[in-house]
Amino acid sequence: MRPALHTVLKLAPVLLPCLLLFGGGLALAVAQSLGLWLPFPHAGAMGDAYVALWKGHMADSFLLSLRVGLVSAALSVVLGTMLAVGLWRMPAGLQQLGVVYKIPLILPHIAVAFIVLVFFAKSGLLSSLAYHAGLIDRPAAFPSLVFGGSGVGMIMAYVYKETPFVLLMAYASLKRLDGRLLDTAHMLGAGMWMQWRCVLLPHLAPALHTSFIILFLYAFGAFEIPFLLGESKPGMLSIEAYNLYFQRDLSFRPQAMAVLVCMFVFSLGFIVLYMRAVQRFASRRPGAAARERKL
């Protein structure tokens, strides 16, 4: 059999569903955003939906989604890396007990959002503690962390849910690092900062970059946590799309699809640009060839 044909045949079980369902879904979303293949006749020009988005308050939603995604992914990566190194350095027995970190991985996003409500809502546990500490006298006096319009509640939920993910990725990578490298660096006079910069971070970089991309894109586009913890104005992009699709009448369908298409295009662009930036940054530093291979 010719190699190319062999490749196509062997890959067909995932290529077909990927092309038909994923590609087909995307194609339908693009078509509907342009006013084609709608369940009703579309009045207006092809690009109307995109023009309407441009004129509306979508920019605020985009900035909110961007902020929540970037802040939560960055915090999770920092926190997860520090905890992973801490876990890696623990005695073997404690490392085994460290599996408790997997609990938030198992919890669904909606349950994590609920936990944030339990702790940080105006009538939550922290508010009760603040009352007993004499800081506030009624629930309403507690700062609006969750529905305050700043996205802090969503960021906390994502950080709690995603930190164990980074921990998992970084810890798996650390398992392949010889701990004696750090001892050697220490004996040669490298301080804490130097050990992180020259030994740990270069080794962890590929895992951390992958984690950051996955977490940022998830928080940027996901629906469930904003649905429970989000504000309405401006709402996260996913909520705006949901509202346009389900809450308004059918004539808003192209706009809903246009929001989703924009989210998709932005995500693709982000992956490409991020990978390119990482490569350029890595190739400028000494010892780049070795790191390139790991990437």
Binding site: V14, M90, T163, M257, L260, F264, I271
Partner: protein
């Protein structure tokens, strides 16, 4: 270098990961717990009584979630076996790009393709059905399985397969007697992630299932906004129980099977 104070970090681990769970347990046991009590004033089994009185409907939702999650895990495993083998064993032009494209469905927002495909599913009669839910869940969760299986195939190299081939084993025998047993750890790893993703998904099941296909997350959701947090807490704890016991069961079965074959 094991630092002498490294074990001091462990309490932080417990605080960060276990305290929220402990609070949920307390809430489940104390339906009347309100602001500004830092600890509940009194305990009662009311939330558990409520769960017991709804045990039939809860079991129905839980069962449906289990069925579509397990079906998704099985379907993704079936679809990914041959492609993972090929991607792990062969190089060809455009392979890196193709691998990137095949992983994309797990990275980009799942809402875009799912809301697009929703319309096609309605036309095809797949919307509001269990197979439709399984298909949609598989599309955005198979990359985890594919990734795990590729790593799995790479971990043991082609020599076992060649050896079996030289000894005259056909492809079916090679697959079932040589490759699959070696691949079990990778299948468990990939399967765990796919199962978790499917089991905890709310939006896709709600969209494609249209409320007709019952799901545990769908049942849990309305309770999360209640002023009385005890029922939601108890249901969340019940949710944790399913994957945890499933993982323990798989671990037990795999270890036993390996031991019987003398692979450990």
């Amino acid at each position: 270098m094991r630092r002498p104070y490294s074990h001091l970090l462990y309490p932080l681990f417990l605080a960060f990961f276990l305290v929220p769970l402990a609070v949920l347990v307390l809430y489940a046991m104390a339906p009347g717990w309100r602001w500004p009590d830092v600890l509940p004033a009194s305990l009662s089994g009311r939330a558990f009584g409520f769960l017991a009185s709804r045990s039939g409907i809860i079991a129905r939702h839980m069962g449906a979630s289990l069925v579509y999650s397990l079906a998704t895990t099985g379907l993704t495993l079936l679809l990914c076996l041959a492609p993972a083998h090929h991607l792990a064993r062969h190089t060809f032009r455009g392979k890196a790009v193709l691998e990137g494209v095949l992983l994309a469905p797990a990275l980009v927002p799942s809402m875009t393709f799912s809301m697009g495909i929703h319309y096609a599913f309605i036309r095809l009669g797949l919307a509001d059905t269990m197979p439709g839910v399984v298909l949609a869940l598989s599309v955005f969760s198979y990359p985890y399985m594919l990734r795990a299986l590729i790593t799995g195939f790479q971990s043991f190299g082609p020599e076992y397969e060649q050896c079996a081939r030289h000894l005259g084993a056909g492809w079916w025998m090679r697959l079932t007697q040589v490759e699959l047993p070696l691949l079990v750890p990778a299948m468990v790893a990939g399967g765990s992630v796919v199962f978790l993703v499917a089991f905890s998904e709310y939006f896709l099941v709600f969209l494609i299932g249209g409320g007709v296909v019952p799901s545990y997350t769908g049942y849990l959701f309305p309770f999360l906004g209640d002023a009385d947090r005890s029922v939601a807490s108890a249901l969340t704890l019940l949710f944790l129980l399913v994957p945890v016991s499933l993982f323990l069961l798989v671990e037990l079965l795999v270890t036993r099977a390996y031991r019987r074959r003398g692979m450990y």
